[in-house]
Structures are given as C-alpha cells and as structure tokens.
C-alpha cells in the first residue's frame, strides 16, 4: 500500500507540477508560450558555462577510480569503519558518494546483486544514497556556473555534512535493521 503511494507520488509529481505552473500562468493571463521560450533561452548558456568545471572534476575522480586508488583507500580505512559498525563492503560507497552520483548508484546496485536487497550492506548503502549528495559535482557545477572561484567555507561545511550523513546512515541502519 505504502509503496503504491510512494510510486504514485513519484509518477505524478512532475506532470502535476508542470500543469500547476502553466495552469496558474494561464489563469493569471501570462503569455505562457512567449515567456517560456524567453526563460528557456538561458538553458544553453548555463549548460555550456559549466563544461570546464565538469571536465576538471570528472577527470580527477576518474583518475582516482580507474587507477585503483579508491580500492587502496578502502583497505586502509577498514579498521576505522568496523569500529563504528560499517561493514567493509560499504566503505567504497561512503567514499564514492560525495564524488560521483553514477558511481554511487553503481555500487548500490552491485551490493544489492551480491548480497541481496534485504542484506545489511545493501540497505546501508541505499540509505546512504538517499541521505547524502554528490558534493564535489554540485559545488563545482553551481559555483562554476556563476564564476565563483573562492568558495570559502562551503566545501568544509559540505564535507562535514557528508560525514555526518554517512555516520547517521550507519547508526540508523544498525538500529532499525541490525
């Protein structure tokens, strides 16, 4: 039942939002077509402006991943993470999540395939996926799009939040499913 509601919400959300926006615009006598195209023009500029930042971030992350440096770091961290109750299988997820959205999704899928969707590692990774974000990508793209180079305290604060989210995901998983 609950799952049905969630799936329903996910399916309806975007079409409903679009309908509400154009409906309200029409009701308020906005020239919806002309105003839409006026706004849409900006899309091209923004997408082009973020390319250098995307390349810089994705290539650096690609280097770290493709070389096996990520696996090496996983091995080094395992004594520390077992102490907070994080199984070794989940460490790559915790490291990947702030770096790469598609990489993190890949790890979740792999854990689900290997250990089953209802296993502790798979559940923990799924909760991590839902409760943290691709920090480096977001910071690079958002700041890059407006030309901000000195990001001040944004990165340290975001990384602290990621760390808190990852630890919280571990603790909550152990409490609810452990």
């Amino acid at each position: 039942m609950f799952q049905g509601v969630i799936n329903g919400v996910s399916a309806i959300a975007i079409p409903l939002l679009i309908l509400a926006i154009v409906g309200h615009g029409w009701y308020k006598k906005v020239k919806v077509y002309e105003v839409f195209t006026e706004g849409a023009k900006e899309g091209f500029n923004v997408a082009i402006r973020i390319i250098p930042f995307l390349v810089a971030i994705l290539v650096a992350i690609g280097s770290f991943r493709a070389s096996g440096a990520l696996d090496l770091l996983t091995g080094l961290l395992s004594p520390l993470t077992s102490w907070i109750g994080m199984p070794g299988e989940v460490i790559p997820m915790a490291l990947m999540r702030p770096l790469s959205g598609s990489g993190a999704i890949g790890i979740v899928s792999e854990l689900i395939n290997t250990y089953g969707p209802d296993s502790i590692p798979a559940r923990m990774a799924a909760i991590m996926e839902g409760s943290t974000e691709t920090t480096f990508y977001i910071l690079a793209v958002y700041f890059g799009s407006v030309g901000v180079k000195k990001t001040r305290h944004a990165l340290p604060a975001a990384l602290l939040a990621d760390l808190a989210g990852i630890i919280a995901a571990v603790v909550v998983t152990q409490m609810v499913f452990g």
Partner: protein, 221 residues
C-alpha cells in the same frame, strides 16, 4: 581546499596506477615476484579521456532539461506562483539567509530547488539550483568569492533534504526487495542529521577569520 583535493585525486590516481605497473605479487610461494606491464597506465589514460568526453555529454544532455525548467520557472515567476510559494516558507528562509532580501527572486528559486530535492526530483532540482545561484550572484559584491548565502545554500543542497529517495527505491524494487520503500524512514532520519550538521557547520565556519569575505573599498561586505 578544492585545489588540494583536486591534486590528490588526480596525482594520487596516476601514482597508484604507476605503482601497479610494477606488477608486484606478494602472494606467490617463491617470495616477491615482479610482472612489469604498462597496462594500468594505458587503462588510466583511456579512463581519463572517457571521463572528459562524458562531462561534455552530461552538459549537452543538460541543455534541454535546463531550458525546460528555466522556461517553466519564468512562467511561474511572471504569474506570481513563485512569490506565493516563497511567502509560505518565508520565516524559515529569512533565518537561513539573513543577507537576502525576503522578496528577492533568489529566495523563490532557492525554495523551488529545495522543494524539488525533497521530492527526489533531481532533474528539476539542478536547473532551479543554478538559477538560484545566478540570482544570489546578483547580490554578490565580490564576484569571484562565495557569499554567506551561497555557502549556506550549497550546504543545504549537498546535505540533501530528501523525503522520497525515488531513484534508490526504484533500484530496490527492481531487485525484488521485500519492501523497497522501507528505507524512507531511515533516510529522513539520516538526512535530518546531515542537514542539521550542515547548517550548524556553515553558521560556525562563516565566523572564522580564515573564511571572511575580502573587504571592498575599505568597508566590510
């Protein structure tokens, strides 16, 4: 900080791949064996080029979606829908972003972005977030430096205030989990912790001398 992390990722990867070219094998019975090969480095090069190409594909894919949401956002702005929405959550937003005037378009865009994130609508969240950054940049007196409002907005975004983690529920459902949506409760709990930490961290860090805005024409901005 970003410079340090970037060089660690980039050079760290290259050094590790270089080391693997030695092909050291500790497990064999005859002691340490070396099987040198260049494969780890050529694989790395291939990976780097693929990442560079993927970034452009990503940006190209974003053009259409950006255009769609920015177009819709423009309608919502002109019709007054954004203002209506922003007014509803104004008390919270004014506390979080004291430097942004309550009626500034930046508030509306940020509210829409956060709402999209809560519902797990990633495709809608990014264009709205980029729009919010452009509006925040208009209030910025030092164009190459992040304002307090920008940093707070980024912390909220990266800590991801999620109510419906749609993607991961979908993956679990596809793998026949006994109850794919059971993670919603734990996700809300964990995301609540990370968002609280994000807000506390940003408010404390912005007071440190190290992270102050540069002065413009002799006065504090």
């Amino acid at each position: 900080m970003i410079n340090t992390i970037w060089i660690v990722l980039m050079a760290g990867g290259i050094l590790v791949a270089g080391f693997q070219c030695l092909g050291l094998d500790y497990s064999s019975a005859e002691g340490l064996i070396m099987n040198p090969s260049f494969i780890p480095l050529t694989d790395l090069t291939k990976g780097l080029f693929n990442s560079a190409k993927a970034s452009v594909n990503l940006a190209m894919g974003l053009i259409g979606i950006m255009a769609l949401w920015l177009g819709l956002m423009k309608i919502a702005e002109e019709s007054g829908l954004v203002k209506l929405f922003a007014r509803a959550v104004r008390p919270v937003m004014v506390r979080l972003f004291p430097d942004v005037p309550p009626d500034h378009p930046a508030m509306g865009a940020m509210v829409m972005n956060i709402a999209a994130n809560m519902l797990g609508l990633g495709n809608a969240a990014t264009p709205l977030g980029l729009k919010a950054m452009q509006e925040l940049q208009k209030l910025n007196k030092v164009k190459d430096t992040a304002t307090n409002a920008m940093a707070t907005f980024m912390a909220l975004n990266t800590s991801s205030v999620t109510f419906i983690p749609a993607t991961v529920i979908g993956i679990r459902a596809a793998a026949n989990a006994s109850n794919p949506a059971e993670i919603i409760g734990p996700v809300i709990l964990a995301t609540g912790v990370s968002t609280t930490v994000a807000i506390i961290a940003i408010k404390i860090l912005q007071k440190l001398p190290k992270y102050q805005m540069p002065k413009v024409e002799g006065k504090e901005v």
